[in-house]
C-alpha cells in the first residue's frame, strides 16, 4: 500500500493508505482521529471540515495523497476558546455536525476575529445542522472571546 506522510495537529504521521482513500477516511480509520465526522461523504454538508494550512477543507472529497499542507482537525482545536463558546451558547444538540462547525468557525475567527452576523452566515452556510442549532452557533461565534 502506498506510503503517506501527513502533518496533523502538529504531529507527523507516516502511514499507509490506498491511493483512492479520502483524507476523512485516513484521519478516522488510519490515523484514528474520529472527531472529524462523515455525514454525506460527497462534500455537501460540512461535517468533515478540517483545516489545511488554515483553510477550511472538505476532507471527505479530498484525496489524502494530494494533501501536503498542515492539517488541523477538531482534536487540534480542543483548547480553542470556541469550544467553551459553543458549550455556553448551547450550540450543540446531537453533536454530529458540531466538530465540523467548530473547525469552520475557527478558520473564520482566525481570519476575522470580530465577524458580523452577515460574515458568520456567509462563512458558515456550508455546515448543515439538522437539529437547527444555528441561532446558538451564531451566538457562540459572535461571543467567542468572552
Amino acid at each position: 500500500m502506498p506510503e503517506l506522510s501527513l502533518t496533523v495537529n502538529e504531529h507527523r504521521y507516516e502511514v499507509e493508505a490506498p491511493i483512492e482513500m479520502s483524507l476523512a477516511h485516513v484521519l478516522r480509520e488510519v490515523v484514528g482521529l474520529t472527531g472529524t465526522k462523515i455525514a454525506c461523504n460527497e462534500g455537501h454538508c460540512g461535517a468533515c471540515t478540517v483545516q489545511v494550512d488554515g483553510m477550511p477543507t472538505l476532507s471527505c472529497i479530498t484525496l489524502a495523497h494530494t494533501v501536503s499542507g498542515e492539517i488541523t482537525t477538531i482534536e487540534g482545536l480542543r483548547d480553542h476558546p470556541l469550544i467553551d463558546a459553543f458549550v455556553r451558547a448551547d450550540a450543540v444538540q446531537c453533536g454530529f455536525c458540531t466538530p465540523g462547525q467548530v473547525v469552520s468557525a475557527a478558520a473564520l475567527v482566525a481570519a476575522n476575529p470580530s465577524p458580523t452576523i452577515d460574515d458568520i452566515r456567509h462563512t458558515m452556510a456550508g455546515n448543515i445542522c439538522r437539529c437547527g442549532t444555528y441561532p446558538r452557533i451564531e451566538e457562540a461565534i459572535l461571543h467567542w472571546r468572552d
Binding site: 474520529t34 455537501h44 469550544i83 446531537c94 453533536g95 439538522r130 444555528y134
Partner: protein, 751 residues
Amino acid sequence: MARLIRTEKEVEGRFEEVWLVVEEDPLTQWPDGPLSVVGRDALRQDALERVRGEARFTADIQLPGMLHTAVLRSPHAHARVKKIDLAPALALPGVHAALAPGDAKGLEGEPGYCGAAVAAVAADTFGQARRAVAAIAVEWEVLEAVLDPHEAVRREQFTMPSSTYERGDFAKALESADVVIESTYRTSVVLHNSMETHQSVCEWVGDTLNVYISTQYIWGVRSAVAAELGIPGDKVRVVCEYMGGGFGSKNDPGEYTFVAAELAKRTGRPVRCALTRREENTAAGNRNLTIQKLTVGARSDGTIIALGGEFINGVGWSGWSAMTDGPMQMLYACDNVRTVRHGAKINMPPMKAFRAPGFVEGTFGLECLIDELAVKLELDPLELRRKNYANANDDTPYSSKNLMECYDLARKHWDRRDEVRARSTGTWKHGVGMASQIWFGGGGPPSYAWTRVSSDGRVTVVTAMQDIGTGTRTAMAQIAAEELGVSLDRVTVVLGDSARGPYATLSAGSSTTPSVGPAVRAAAADAKRQIIEIAAQRYDVEEHVLDIKDDVLTSADGNVSTTLEQLLEILENSQILGKGGRGPNPAGMSVLTFGVQVVEVAVDVETGEVRVERVAAAHDVGRIINSLGARSQVEGGIIQGIGHTLFEQRLHDPETGRILTTSLDAYRMPTIADIPEIVCEFVDKPDAHLTNLGSKGLGEPPIVPLAAAVANAIRDATGADVHELPITREEMLRALEAAKKKERRGAPAAV
C-alpha cells in the same frame, strides 16, 4: 407497590389498549415556577465531549477485525427476484460473506419500492463490499407498480384500514352554515436526514450479540432483534451512548441491524452496516405526502359549526397512516366533525414517524382553512381562534390546557401587524400570520431509574434511556439534583446501554422527559429518604425535621448542619441505592400539548421568493425542566419547519419511482443563512394531574404550527392562498396569480 392496570398507551398519535405494571407515584409535585435547579438554564452535561469531537457515535465504533457491508437495492419500484447468483461477489478480493433475499429480515425477494434492500455483502473495506454488490447477478421479473396515491385509493390498496370519525351531524350542520369554505391542501414527502445515517455494528461474544446502533429506542431494538434471532432478550446488548439525530426515523432496528447480525454470525467477525447518505434519502423513511380535502362551515359571527376532511396519506409500501385528521378532530370546539383518512399503499419508500407525524401535515391544512374563514368573515384570526376554543377533548377533560395563556403571550407579537405590513416597499410585501398547535406528548409508564449516592456526596443516575441530542441527559440530572438538594455538577447520568440500567422508554413522541423524568425523581427521592434515615439515627433527631439543600443536610432547628460528604464518609466505597418508577397517567383525561406561533414574512410578488423574518412561539408543555434546552428545542423545531415549509421536497421520477433527490445538494435543508429571528416563551405551569413533575414533552410541538403560520402570513402580506408545501417560488407565483383572479372583499390587495 406495583399495580397492574389496563390503560390506553399513546406513541406518536397511535393508541393501543395494554396491560401495564406501574409503580405508585406518591410524591407530591414541587411548587410552581423555577426551583433551585429545575426550571432554570442548565448547560448540557455532555456538551463538551460532543463539541470537542470526543463523543463516540455508532459511526465512530471501530472494532478489531470489523467488516463493512454494502447492500444491493432494488432498481425497480416493484419486482420479483427470479434468480440471484452471489458467486461472482464471493469471488472478489476482501469479500467474506454474502446474503440473499430471506437470509436476514429486510432482504426482500419481492421488493416493493425502488431502493428496497435485496442482498448484502460483507468485506474488509466498504469499497470492496460495494464492488462485490455490483457483481451480484440478478434476474428480475418486473411487476406492476402503483405510484399514484389516488390510484391506490381507487383500488382500495391500503397499508391499514381507513379510519372514519364522526361526531354530531356534519352534513346537516353544513347546510345551516352561513359560510362554507372548501379547500384542498397538499404536503410533499420530506426526509429526516439525520446527520448520522442509520447504522449498526454487530458483534457476537459467545452467545451474546452486542449491537452498537444509532437508535431512539435501545429496548425496542433489543426485543425486536431477540425475537427475530430466537434468542433471549438478555443475550442481546444494545448500546447507544451518543446518537446523531433521529427525528422519528430510528425507532426500530431496521434491515441494517439484521443484516449486520447475520453477517457477523457467518463470518465470526464484528460487522458494520451503515447506510450511505444516498441510501438514507431513499430507504430510511420519510414524512409521507398528504392530500387533504377540507371543509369548514361557520355562522357569520365566526362560530365553527361543521368541519369535514378527506385525508390521503401516501404512506409508501409499508408503514402506518398517521393522524392527519387529528388536528381537525381536536383543535376546536365544533359539534359536527366528520373525517375520513386513507393510508395509500404505493410502490414508494415507506414512511417512518417524523416529528409529530400527521399533525404537522394536518395542522397546515386546518390552520390555513381557519385563516381563510377569518378573511371571508372579516374577523381577526386570533379572535376567531379564541371564539372556538375547546374546553374538552370531545367529551374527555384535559389534564391541563393553557392554550388561552399562549394566545395571551402571542398578543404582543400579533399586535405588530400594522407595523410589519407598513414595511412593504416595491415588490416586497410584508405580513403576519399565526397558527395554533395541538399534539400529544404526555409520555406514560413504564420507565425506571436507579440512583447511587457515594461517600463523596456525588450522585449517579442510571437509566437505560438514550439521549438523541435533545438534552434529556441534562434534564434527568437536573431532576435528580433538585430532589436530592445537591448542586447540578454533582450529578452524572449513565444511559444508553440495555445491559447496564433499567428499562426506559423510547425517545420519540415527545415522551422521554415526561416518561423517564418522574422515574428519576422517584429514584432520587428514594435515595434521599435513606440519607435522612441515616442522619436521623446518627444525630438522634426525628427524620421529618431534616432536609438537604445546597449539598448540606440541616435540621429545622439548626442544630444539625453537615455536608453530605461529612455525613456519608462512613460509606467508604459502598453506596446508597435508590430506585424509582414512572407512575400512571391520569385516568379519564386527555394529556396534550398546546401552543401558538406568530410568523412575519416578506414576499417578493415578482419572483415568488418568500423569506421568514421572525417567528414568535408560545408553548404550553407543563413544567419546564431546562429553560435553556427547551428554547433550543423550540428553535430547532422551527428551523426544521422552515425547511419543510419553504424548500424541502423529495422528488421522484413518476415513471419509475426512482428517487431523484438523494444527495444533500439536491435535497435542500435550511442553513444558517436561512434562519429568522426566533422569540420563544413558555407558559411553564405544571400539569397538576400528570406525574410527580407535571412536565410534558417538547421535541415535537414547535414544528407543528410553523407551516400554516407562514402560509397565513403570506396571505396577510399578499392576499394569496398557498395550498401546497413546500412553498416554492412556483407555488407562490401560482397562488399570487389565483389571487389576482379572485376579487376578495376585505383582503389586503397587494397584487
